[in-house]
Symmetry: C2
Subunit: 240 residues, 2 copies
């Protein structure tokens, strides 16, 4: 990192390093605002800012009159540690696939059939969507659905809308999330170096109690951070 970084980031990064590396154990006191100004040679604004960022991340917790301490139960779970499990649904919040929607011809997939609760030899269609941000692929969604729902004319990516036309209503979503070091599978599409950690989201959409679509979403871990926040103010929670 360049030394032209904001000064508060220097403080944040140093303290975060000490916490994540274990030098500062849970419960250990964090230097106070004034101590930080002296120790790092920064102003009060930068010190306050740094503490607030760390508190917002959930790494430390501040109590008025008592000071900041490393959290006993850090709610910030860096994804690369694989203790943080996370799923997101960019599809659901309106992220549009910028390109690369590939639908394979239907074939029998007994493993998927189990998730969809259909006959093992029932053909399913597989749709793979590569989401890109600034040209860089950031997410791969592999979606399966029973061929019976696919009339072949509608937009394959609009599962919910099309199913609505079939009189089905998506009422529930289930997910299966895990972190793993992938085999060289799918790395052709996402351009992942072998051995990198990813999140693998296994999702099933339900219409009533009937699974109608299931999908796999693969997200490289290094692109996101999961912050498990509590209602404002920042990180307020008794923690002892």
């Amino acid at each position: 990192m360049a030394n032209s970084d904001p000064v508060y980031l220097r403080v944040v990064e140093d303290l975060r390093r000490q916490i994540t590396e274990g030098l500062l154990q849970p419960g250990a006191p964090i230097p106070s605002r004034h101590q930080i100004t002296r120790k790092y040679g920064v102003g009060e604004t930068a010190a306050r800012h740094a503490l607030r960022v760390l508190a917002q991340e959930g790494l430390i917790i501040g109590r008025v009159g008592s000071g900041h301490r490393v959290r006993q139960r850090p709610d910030l779970l860096p994804l690369h540690r694989a203790q943080a499990h996370f799923s997101t649904d960019m599809h659901a919040v309106g992220r549009r696939p910028t390109c690369d929607v590939k639908t394979d011809s239907a074939e029998a997939r007994p493993d998927i059939a189990v998730r969809l609760r259909i006959a093992a030899q029932s053909p399913v269609t597989r749709t793979r969507i590569v989401y890109r941000s600034d040209g860089k692929p950031v997410q791969l969604a592999v979606s399966y659905e029973p061929i019976v729902y696919n009339d072949g004319t509608d937009d394959i990516t609009q599962v919910a809308h099309r199913l609505g036309g079939n009189g089905l209503k998506l009422t529930e979503v289930t997910e299966h999330v895990y972190a793993r070091v992938p085999q060289p599978v799918e790395s052709d599409v996402l351009d992942l170096p072998a051995g990198v950690h990813v999140l693998h989201v296994e999702r099933t959409h339900w219409a009533g109690d009937k699974p109608v679509e299931t999908s796999d979403v693969i997200i490289p871990c290094d692109q996101f951070r999961l912050v498990y926040t509590l209602p404002a103010p920042y990180g307020e929670q008794t923690n002892r």
Copy 2:
């Protein structure tokens, strides 16, 4: 909310409401620092703070010289919308049960046996742990494990440690997360009003490729928020 709330929170809540309710569509400009000071009658600090909070939540994005705008793809996903899916592992990050650990006598549970990949009639022990924060139950974990690993003497809650004594090493965790409106099941323990949204985390601990423990974690949605952040600085990302 009391009107003794911090001033900046008034601004945050008003703008957040306008965004989530759709009054401010994605791409719409947000009042600038100076406009906020005038419109809300607050100081510059409060205005800046409010904008930073919203940016940190991912609802808006600021660009130097150009101003703040509502994000095209908000990365803040309120859990109660069920578009945000989320899992956490309080167990793994050292959250201790404050009370209410109940272990039932072992019995056959074919549904759980499938998850554990054991014979359908193999008895499993069920442990239910109610986690409390300030006396209020905030989380229920229902854990199952094959009776063969349970010698009945060790702490039932320390699955990982005990399994280590059996020569097994937990190498992987899989999770299954879904939001649902629960039946009146478990509401006796968590005191959930019927119909409330919860997160249901279905988790399996693996030793190598062998599942050794599986559990259900139920968390009421109103207690948490998932923020899907990007690396610092706040919300920086070209978004157009």
